[in-house]
Symmetry: C2
Subunit: 219 residues, 2 copies
């Protein structure tokens, strides 16, 4: 599969690197082509890796991943262009966190809305799937770093798109039974808000290599 | 221990009933004494149970539990009176949810603040401890309803108060190692925001008898 990964930060590099290692063709997108970090990533990642603008990467990808800073995601996606996103699965892993006021960070959108919903509204022809935003980048692509079984959450309006993303997550090493489908993209509100609790879990456990497991009674 | 439990809803009745069954003296508080639900609860709970106003119950309790509707909690606690709360552990289990706009509910406070923090600011001499708001009432007092081990969260400014609440939770049946101390009451932001995700977990799993377990890597 051809992936366009928007964003050159830790999350973008981690996801793009994993996808290359799995044999996919990946273009990393940033505001300007020739971005120093992106060029260095291409060199280290090897043959099937490339880089370009947000628009280049989105056009390249059959599936597009938004791994940009949450506060800048809508601008990055507008730069990528609706014409390069329409009809595609758009995986949103960003968190709309604002660290400008110090710690703890606050959410730039929440409660009655979410970044995932904002993106879906802005690009109604894209199939937005929120996932992976509830954990550190290392855990996203190597769930076995965290002991026992634990969950990755998936939300989006299109069931086929959610299933396709579940398939990518299973390639990453997530057992199918640990992929928890929460349905509508409205669930992104809870998934994004949870990150404020995740930060507390990090502080309490002393490591960001953590995740949660949902346990529910069975009749 | 003498407990004042403010609130006659499912959570208040469940917690008050559990405390009576554990041998504690419990007064249930509501806006007016003689509240029909409270009187019925006293009859069913037996000898050490009593009821009165918010003020009566807060004065009675060596420890006070806020189990009122989150949107009404500050008013209920003002009716209880600072003079009946000062110096005491005040356990806040409420969620500031607003269902007036339909589903999903929204938070009446969040992001840069929380109900737990509002209560602590309003009653600076009380030792506010947020806990148990992240699960259904049945699970609060019978954690074994949910399979395997899972976590109850505790947050508050006073370490001794958090430890005392941990003791109460252990009486409820929570193993000490499953009580997760998140430190400062500021963590109430994440604990309250998580409830919006909890509602999605309920929908996804088809039962409210659920909870999460924190899993973290150990070096």
């Amino acid at each position: 599969v051809k992936y366009g990964v928007l964003g050159t930060g830790t999350v973008g590099q981690t996801l793009a690197g994993k996808l290359v290692s799995l044999g996919h063709e990946v273009m990393m997108g940033s505001r300007q082509s020739g971005n120093e970090v992106a060029v260095a990533w291409v060199k280290s990642a090897g043959g099937s890796a490339s880089e370009g603008t947000f628009s280049d990467a989105a056009a390249f990808g059959e599936t597009v991943i938004n791994a940009t800073n949450g506060a800048a995601s809508l601008d990055a996606l507008k730069a990528a262009g609706a014409e390069n996103l329409d009809g595609k699965v758009l995986i949103d892993v960003a968190n709309p966190l604002d660290f400008s006021g110090g710690l703890p960070p606050t959410l730039t959108v929440g409660n009655t809305d979410s970044l995932g919903e904002q993106i879906q509204r802005e690009f109604p022809e894209a199939k937005v799937v929120k996932t992976l935003n509830t954990m550190a980048a290392d855990v996203m692509v190597e769930p076995s770093l965290v002991p026992d079984s634990h969950n990755v959450l998936v939300a989006g309006e299109d069931a086929d798109a959610r299933a396709q993303v579940s398939g990518m997550l299973q390639e990453f090493g997530w057992p199918a039974e640990d992929v928890l489908d929460l349905g509508s993209i409205v669930a992104a509100r809870g998934m994004e808000a949870y990150v404020t609790l995740w930060l507390r879990f990090w502080a309490a456990s002393g490591t960001r290599i953590l995740n949660i497991k949902l346990l529910a009674a069975t009749e």
